[in-house]
Every structure is written in structure tokens, then in C-alpha cells.
């Protein structure tokens, strides 16, 4: 059960934008069936395997279980995230494997498993990948970043970090890692210099998760705040959106949410961060000095579990009760109207643009 409870995190960093304004160019040989469109990954559930869904860029067709269809095997239990690099996609599965596939056909090229325990997210720099790993989730001291050589697809070294490293973002030879704390609560962002693996930390509000670089080159962090109502006495701390100046790792601003509010999904595009709170979508501009008081629009999701934004469209996954397929809801950002819905993978949590 704990595994299920864990997975309340969303969105990835490695958004590769669509190219629908390239229509005038003479069409070239297609690279694969999934070349242009939306990739939605689903964690699966306690009893259902994870899977990957595809929706064509024009939102006309969709296909579920594309990895299974290409390879006749499942992606296993608890697909955490997918990273995209050059022509490959790296499917990070919590059972301790990363499946390397051709991102356009989803045909498997390699599997990385040695040296991984409970991998969460992946980031790339040149020919190296960095994977956050919780180690044994019950052990608070064995968490690490696995360094993977992308030629040999093997873990070549590890960098010890504090409890619960979650999202990883690479920017100018530095890795930024949000530590949501895994099974526990943590409140730091690790900054790792990729040339010598030296490490600094920045303290933010509890349970930092979503990371983006904004238009000014600052780091944007969504902390969900601790919400351990079962402890005696209960522990509850404020969620916040924190902006960090990457030149000196100083905090520019911390916009705290009201007590009792614990947003966990955020997306970012063109100077605007979008987050979901109680099924309402809010927009926060880069220069805002306070959190918005009114929402942009509401969603119909029963249980919003994934969020992404692309080309003035907002994508939300509704995981429902994790007992059947999820629903991908597509909203027009300008009007807030729901334009499309698709039946996608069970426990759909991440939305990427191929």
C-alpha cells in the first residue's frame, strides 16, 4: 500500500516541444508511429502493470500500451517517469529498471538494472544520464544519484544525497535535485556540480517536488508542504512556490500557500506556471509577488494525477480510482474549455510531447 501512497507526484522536466509550426517543410521519412504526438505514461497500480499511451499530435487517434505492442512485454510495476534524449526514450520503472527504447517506435534497445534500486527521475548531460534513486525506501541514508554512461548503458558511479531525491534537472553543468523525502519528509534542493560532484543544498519549504527554469533563468520549485495527519501530534507545514537565483543559489521569493493547501502538480510554459489546487487550475506569472487569488478555470478530474502544458493547451490526467484506464483531459487555456478526452494508461501520471 505504501508504494501506492508514494506516487503522488507529477510532470516531468524533459518536455520536448511539438513542432506543429513546421508544416511548410517537405515531409521527410517518418521516424516511427510515435514521432509526433503526446506520450502519456501510467504507473499502473498495486495489481495492474504500468503502460504507455500515445495520442497523435492532431488529437485524432490514440493507442494504449504502445510499449507492450512494440515489445510484447510490459513495462513492469510503477513506471515512474520517462526521459527523452536524442532519438531515445528512457522509461524509469520503480522496480529498479530503466528500459531504453527508440522514442519514435518504442522498440526496446536496452535495459539498465544493475546499480539501480528504486529509480525516480532521469536527466541528461551529453553522454551521461543522472537518475535519482531512493535506494531502500525504508533506509534514510542510502539515497543516491546514479551516474549512467549512455554508450554502455551502465551505472558508472553514484553520488550520495539526502533522503528522497525526486526530480532532477540539468542546467549549465549543474544538477538540481528536489528532495521530497520519499517515505519521509525532506526540504532541500541539492545542487551538484557535474564536473566534480561537489554538492551544495538550498533549503526550501517541506516536500519540494516540481522543478522548472523560468524565463529569467531562475529555478522554480513547488513544495507541497508536509501533511502527516496520522502522527501524534499531526505534522502539517505550508506548501510554497519558491524562486531561486541560480547564480548564487539565493532565494528570490517564497510564496506560501494557506494552511491546509497541498498542491502537488505544476507545469510551466512561456512565463506562466500552472498548478492545480482542489481541482482548480491557477496561473502564476514570473513576476507575481503573491499567489493568485482566483483560478483560471476548473477541471472535471476526479483525481488529477498528471499535469502538463503545451501550445496553449493544458493536459490533465484523471487517474480515477486506479482500477481502470485513466482519462486525459485537454483544455484550451484561453477559454478554459475542455476540448478532448482520451482513455489512457492506468494511473496516468506523466504527459510528454514527442
Amino acid at each position: 500500500m505504501k508504494k501506492i501512497i508514494l506516487s503522488i507526484f507529477a510532470m516531468s522536466l524533459f518536455v520536448v516541444s511539438c513542432s506543429d509550426d513546421d508544416d511548410s517543410i517537405t515531409p521527410s521519412e517518418p521516424l516511427g508511429a510515435y514521432e509526433d504526438g503526446i506520450i502519456v505514461s501510467g504507473e499502473g497500480s498495486f495489481s495492474l502493470p504500468s503502460s504507455v499511451s500515445f495520442i497523435s499530435e492532431d488529437l485524432m487517434t490514440s493507442e494504449n500500451q504502445i510499449y507492450f505492442n512494440a515489445n510484447n512485454e510490459t513495462t513492469g510495476g510503477y513506471l515512474q517517469s520517462i526521459g527523452f534524449n536524442d532519438d531515445k526514450a528512457y522509461i524509469v520503472v520503480q522496480d529498479g529498471t530503466i528500459k531504453v527504447v527508440n522514442r519514435y517506435t518504442f522498440e526496446k534497445l536496452a535495459t539498465i538494472s544493475t546499480g539501480l534500486s528504486l529509480p525516480r527521475y532521469i536527466a541528461f548531460e551529453d553522454n551521461t544520464a543522472y537518475v535519482s534513486d531512493w535506494g531502500d525506501p525504508n533506509d534514510t541514508t542510502d539515497d543516491y544519484i546514479a551516474v549512467i554512461d549512455l554508450t554502455s548503458n551502465s551505472v558508472i558511479s553514484t553520488i550520495s544525497v539526502s533522503e528522497g531525491p525526486e526530480q532532477v534537472l540539468e542546467e549549465s553543468d549543474k544538477l538540481y535535485v528536489s528532495h521530497n523525502g520519499g517515505f519521509n519528509v525532506n526540504n532541500v534542493i541539492s545542487v551538484i556540480n557535474t564536473s566534480d560532484y561537489t554538492l551544495e543544498t538550498i533549503t526550501v519549504n517541506d516536500v519540494p517536488d516540481e522543478l522548472f527554469i523560468d524565463e529569467s533563468g531562475d529555478l522554480l520549485v513547488l513544495s507541497s508542504g508536509a501533511n502527516q495527519s496520522w502522527l501524534t501530534p499531526p505534522v502539517e507545514t505550508e506548501a510554497a512556490i519558491t524562486r531561486i537565483d541560480l547564480s548564487d543559489n539565493s532565494i528570490i521569493s517564497t510564496l506560501e500557500f494557506s494552511a491546509g493547501q497541498h498542491p502537488s502538480l505544476m507545469a510551466y510554459e512561456d512565463g506562466m506556471a500552472y498548478y492545480i489546487l482542489n481541482n482548480e487550475v491557477y496561473g502564476l506569472t514570473d513576476n507575481a509577488t503573491s499567489l493568485p487569488t482566483s483560478s483560471l478555470f476548473g477541471t472535471t478530474a476526479g483525481y488529477a494525477y498528471g499535469l502538463s502544458v503545451d501550445d496553449n493547451q493544458l493536459f490533465v490526467t484523471d487517474a480515477g480510482g486506479f482500477a481502470a484506464n485513466s482519462t486525459l483531459l485537454v483544455y484550451d487555456l484561453a477559454s478554459g474549455t475542455e476540448t478532448n478526452t482520451f482513455s489512457v494508461a492506468v494511473g496516468a501520471s506523466k504527459i510528454y510531447f514527442n
Binding site: 500500500m1 501512497i5 495489481s47 507492450f68 513495462t75 522496480d95 525506501p137 525504508n138 501533511n227 496520522w230
Partner: protein, 616 residues
């Protein structure tokens, strides 16, 4: 009150008779006199099926297999030997009660019993009681109950049985059963050790079940002592310790491991008084598990519950045709675990069972129960049953009941998400049975309807936590048929035993079939014996089950129907008055069929098991 003594004598006689007839290799379900008085006396209008010890020994591989091949119960087994949970008439695992010598042993943590943590070889009989039994057996007896019974025989004897078996995947089993009695004292002991690499090949792939090994040991020790003409003391004890790797799925290997340690001790004092036959039971049960997410580390999570119970009951003949059985019981449950603090629960229950038999054709039962439980309110429960002998060949049985399932410790206290506002699931049901007996053939036909409300389901809530709530309403209905035929021609003995069930189990809101409930399930057992040689063949059909609530077919939303067969042969090498040696060979999955019980968790390929058994 001599009839009570008679009852015990009859019981002894019966078990001897069973032992003697068990040499014919008949795989049959039979109705016999039962050790549990409630089962014997107060279930006339219920379908009660007994799997006797010869059948248990034939299906020695596992409790799950015993019931899969010999009843209408459906099992969701996470790969061979892994967690195995039953569905009885389309209900879920926590709505099937497992009763050990009259008391419920379902986990207080999960509400269910993992059937792969029970070794059946050490029991004299396994009884399947179909239909609601909460009045008699408490929480969880909604679809039905499975009873594990040990009987103590006071007739002079000293019997020993040693069985050794070896089979595929380095499966080793050692079993020793010993039974001794004089007129005052009776003891039986069962020791069982089972070890298997369980690394079967996943058919049609290059993979094996690499993390599925298990080892377990169990001890059953039962003592009976006749203190005086009126007083009998009995001590029942069962201990199970198991270490299991938890296998992964086809494309996702696992490193998980699960340790179980359960023990159950019950002291029973029965007194055959002038007015009533009364029994006082005190028992201590302990369940304890450790879950290792990675078997190579020392990190684990655990759960542990101690149950202390005291139970008083009397069998009173109010009139010659009217029997009353009041029961008062007090249970105290004390839990501890990684994911909750140290919760406890107190439960006081009063029950009255009434049985009326105005003549030889009609029998009526009417039963009431009220529990007072700390933490939530329990509903008033009732049941009624009628049995009518239409003719020598034809019998009608009808029963109806209100039953319940209380929230488990996990449901209430799990950190995070446990919900203290839960109420018990409640269920109404009716069951109509027909029993046709003609010569050596018996046909049972049952139709049932179950309506359950306030079903507890775990779902993500507004704050993103998974939390249980009383959300769903379901209805189950269906029919069951079982046919049992035996035939003797000179030294040749034939038998056929077959079950079929059609089950609809649907969510009343979505009108969809619940996951992991097959519409169709059927099995057939054929046996033949001639002199020292016996042979059996068994075949199981399980229809397609859905794995997601949208009722779609396909690898990600359903598990295909499958058919699987086992076969075996037994030969008596030696047979004297005091000694007997049997050798047997069993082939499981005879036709090497690739099948799954649970999606992406393949079951074993064809495998063999050789056994030698020495009785003295």
C-alpha cells in the same frame, strides 16, 4: 444428554469409518457429522460440503489447489505459492471467513486469510459452508466460510503416518502424523515441512519464476482428556512459520520477501450437565508478518495482532424438538505495526441459535446476533434456514441472512489514510438449495442472491491520500451445481465428482462485473481404483476474469479463461493389518498449459511429484 456422548462416539466412529473407506481413491465431497456443533446442528438449511482427509491428502500440494479443484471457490493467486485469496460466490477475500476449530482466524490486519499460509494435511476435515454465516462465525462470513477441523478420537488406537515427497523445482515435503488414544486420553500431532525453489519456467518465454522460493513449517498438536463422566478438556494448538519470496510479474522481477508466523492455541472445557451441554473456550491467536521490500537488506515493515478470546456456549434441549444454543463471547484484539500505532479493539457478542424440528420432514433454524464493538456500531444480525425432505430422494433447503464485515485494522488505522469513520459492510442474502440423491449419485443445485452495501474500498481522496471509505454497493447472484457419483463393480471402483458455478457479481452503480470474478467456473474429478492400484484425473476450467473495472478484454484488462489438468497414480506396495506403504506419482498441469490466475503472473508448467507414505 447421553446424546452428546453419542455424538462424540458417532464422530469417532465416523472418522474411523472414513479412514477405512479412504483407501478407495475417491475424490468426493461428502456430508458427514461434523465436530463443530454449529456446523452439525444449526446449518440444516445451508449447503455444507466436507472434504475428507483422503481428499485432502490427494491434493496435498496446497490448500488453494484443494479448493480450486474440489469446490466452486475461485482463487486469485499471485503466482504459485504466493498470496492466495478466495472469492466465494463473487464476494471478495475479506468476505470469506476461515474458521479453525470453530473460531475465525481471518487476519485482523487485512480481513482475509492467505490460503497459502495454511497447511491442510494436519487437519481431519475441511468443510465448506456456503452462504452467510456471520451470526454463527462473525465478521467476514458473507460469501461463506471454510472450516478447518481437528477431531479427537478417544477410541484405543496408535497410528502413525510418515510421508516423504520430492518433486519438480526441488520441492521437498516431509509430513508426520501421529494419533494416540486410550479411553481417557487422546492426542494427535501433525508436523509438516515444505520447501520449494518454485522456479518454474514461464511457458512461451525465456524467463523463470526467479523470486518465488518458499519454505514453511507447521505443527498441529491436539490433546483431549476425559476428566470425568461429565467433563472433557481439549487443547488445540496450531503453529505456522513461513518464509516466502514474492515473485514479480512477467517482465518485472521482484526482490521482495514475506515472512509469516502465526500461532493459535485454544483450551476447551466441555461439560455434559443435566440441563445442558456447555462449553467454555479460551484462546490466544497471534498473527505476525514481516515484509522485506528487498530480501537482501534487513529493512522490513511488520504487522502483528494478538487476539484473546473467551467464549461460552451451551446446547440446550428446550423441548424434544426445540434446541437452543446461546453463545456469549468476548474478543480482545491488540495490534502493532510499522504503519499504525498500537490499536486495539474490544468486541462483545451475544448469539442465540434456535433449531426446531417438528417432524422428520421439516427443520427450521432461526438465529440472532448482536455485537458491541469498540470504535463502531455493529448491526443486529439474523439468519433463518429451512430444510424440507420432499421425498427420500429430494430435499429442499432455504436460508436467508443478514451478515457483516467489520473494518480491519488497516482500514481504520493505516498511516496514512486510515479512516476511523468507517462502518461495517452489511449484506443480505438468500440461498435456495435442492439436493437430489439417488443410489450412489447426488446432485446439489443452489441459487443465491447477495446484496452488499457500504463496501469498503481504498481510493485516493481529495488530499491525494489513499483512504478507505464505505462507497460501493454490489449484488451477486448465480447458480451452483455439484454432482457426485460412485460406482462399484466387483473390485473396480469408479467415482466422478464435478462442480459448476455461474456467478454474476456486479457493482450496482456501474453495472459492471467486479474484477477477478469469473462468470463461469467448473471442475471435474475422476477416480478409478482396482485392488492395490488407484488412479485419478482432475480438470479445472476458469472463465475469463476482468482485471479493471471497465470490463474490457485484453492483456491489460482481463485474464484469459484457462483449463488445467492434474493426474496421479497410487500403488500400495505393502498392506498388512498394521502396516501400509503407498507410493504415488502426481503430474500437475498435465498438458503443459500456459495460464495465469492473476494478470502477468504465470502459473507453473508441467511438474511432477513423487511421494512415499508409510503407515504403521
Amino acid at each position: 444428554m447421553t446424546r452428546i456422548v453419542l455424538f462424540f462416539l458417532l464422530l469417532c466412529f465416523y472418522s474411523v469409518a472414513m479412514a477405512q473407506t479412504s483407501t478407495d481413491s475417491i475424490q468426493r465431497l461428502d456430508e458427514v457429522v461434523l465436530s463443530d456443533v454449529k456446523l452439525q446442528r444449526y446449518a440444516k438449511g445451508f449447503k455444507v460440503t466436507v472434504l475428507n482427509d483422503s481428499l485432502i491428502k490427494k491434493n496435498r500440494s496446497s490448500f488453494t489447489d484443494l479448493l480450486r479443484f474440489n469446490s466452486t471457490l475461485y482463487f486469485k493467486e499471485n503466482g504459485y505459492g504466493m498470496v492466495s485469496s478466495p472469492s466465494f460466490r463473487g464476494t471478495n477475500a475479506s468476505q470469506t471467513a476461515v474458521i479453525w476449530n470453530g473460531i475465525s482466524i481471518n487476519s485482523q490486519l487485512t480481513g482475509q486469510t492467505d490460503f497459502n499460509t495454511i497447511n491442510t494435511t494436519n487437519f481431519n476435515s475441511v468443510v465448506i459452508r456456503s452462504g452467510g454465516g456471520s451470526v454463527q462465525y462473525g465478521s467476514g462470513a458473507i460469501g461463506g466460510s471454510i472450516h478447518l477441523n481437528n477431531t479427537l478420537d478417544f477410541k484405543n488406537h496408535f497410528n502413525n503416518t510418515v510421508s516423504l515427497s520430492y518433486g519438480s523445482y526441488e520441492t521437498k515435503n516431509v509430513n508426520y502424523l501421529s494419533s494416540y488414544a486410550n479411553e481417557k486420553f487422546s492426542v494427535n500431532i501433525g508436523l509438516n515441512y515444505l520447501d520449494s525453489d518454485n522456479d518454474y519456467k514461464y511457458l512461451n518465454t525465456d524467463e523463470r519464476n526467479t523470486n518465488g522460493a518458499f519454505t514453511n513449517g507447521s505443527v498441529n498438536a491436539n490433546l483431549g482428556y476425559i476428566v470425568s463422566d461429565k467433563d472433557v478438556l481439549k487443547l488445540y494448538h496450531q503453529y505456522f512459520v513461513g518464509e516466502r519470496e514474492f515473485s514479480g510479474t512477467v517482465s518485472s522481477q521482484s526482490l521482495a520477501k514475506y515472512d509469516d508466523e502465526n500461532f493459535r492455541t485454544m483450551l476447551e472445557w466441555s461439560r455434559n450437565g443435566d440441563k445442558a451441554f456447555s462449553k467454555l473456550k479460551v484462546a490466544h491467536l497471534q498473527e505476525h508478518f514481516k515484509y522485506f521490500g528487498n530480501k537482501n537488506t534487513e529493512n522490513y515493515t511488520f504487522g502483528k495482532v494478538n487476539t484473546y478470546l473467551i467464549n461460552y456456549t451451551a446446547d440446550i434441549d428446550l423441548l424434544s424438538h426445540l434446541k437452543l444454543k446461546p453463545i456469549v463471547a468476548y474478543n480482545y484484539y491488540q495490534g502493532s505495526g510499522s504503519s499504525f500505532g498500537n490499536p486495539n479493539r474490544k468486541e462483545f457478542s451475544t448469539t442465540a441459535l434456535l433449531q426446531y424440528k417438528p417432524n422428520n420432514k421439516w427443520e427450521y433454524g432461526f438465529n440472532l446476533r448482536q455485537d458491541v464493538t469498540s470504535g463502531f456500531e455493529s448491526p443486529l444480525l439474523f439468519s433463518f434456514d429451512v430444510a424440507y425432505d420432499v421425498s427420500k430422494y429430494y430435499k429442499l433447503k432455504l436460508n436467508g441472512s443478514k451478515n457483516y464485515r467489520v473494518p480491519t485494522f488497516n482500514d481504520l488505522y493505516w498511516q496514512q489514510g486510515g479512516n476511523l469513520d468507517l462502518v461495517p459492510e452489511t449484506s443480505y442474502q438468500v440461498d435456495l438449495g435442492q439436493e437430489i440423491t439417488y443410489k450412489n449419485a447426488k446432485l446439489n443445485l443452489n441459487a443465491f442472491y447477495i446484496n452488499t452495501t457500504d463496501l469498503i474500498q481504498w481510493q485516493p481522496n481529495d488530499t491525494g491520500f489513499w483512504s478507505p471509505d464505505n462507497v460501493a454497493k454490489t449484488q451477486n447472484y448465480g447458480i451452483e451445481a455439484s454432482l457426485d457419483i460412485t460406482k462399484h463393480i466387483n473390485a473396480h471402483q469408479f467415482s466422478l465428482q464435478s462442480n459448476y458455478a455461474y456467478t454474476v457479481s456486479e457493482d450496482l452503480e456501474s453495472k459492471k462485473q467486479l474484477i477477478y470474478v469469473p462468470y463461469h467456473k467448473a471442475n471435474i474429478n475422476l477416480a478409478y481404483s482396482y485392488k492395490r492400484m488407484s488412479f485419478f484425473f482432475q480438470h479445472l476450467f476458469t472463465g475469463e476474469v476482468f482485471t479493471t473495472t471497465d470490463n474490457l478484454s485484453g492483456p491489460f484488462s482481463s485474464v484469459d479463461a484457462y483449463e488445467v489438468s492434474n493426474s496421479g497414480v497410487n500403488y500400495q506396495l505393502l498392506k498388512t493389518n498394521s502396516q501400509q506403504i503407498d507410493v504415488s506419482l502426481k503430474v500437475n498441469n498435465l498438458f503443459n498449459t500456459a495460464y495465469e490466475n492473476v494478470a502477468f503472473r504465470p502459473m507453473p508448467d508441467r511438474n511432477f511429484n513423487f511421494q512415499i507414505q508409510y503407515k504403521f
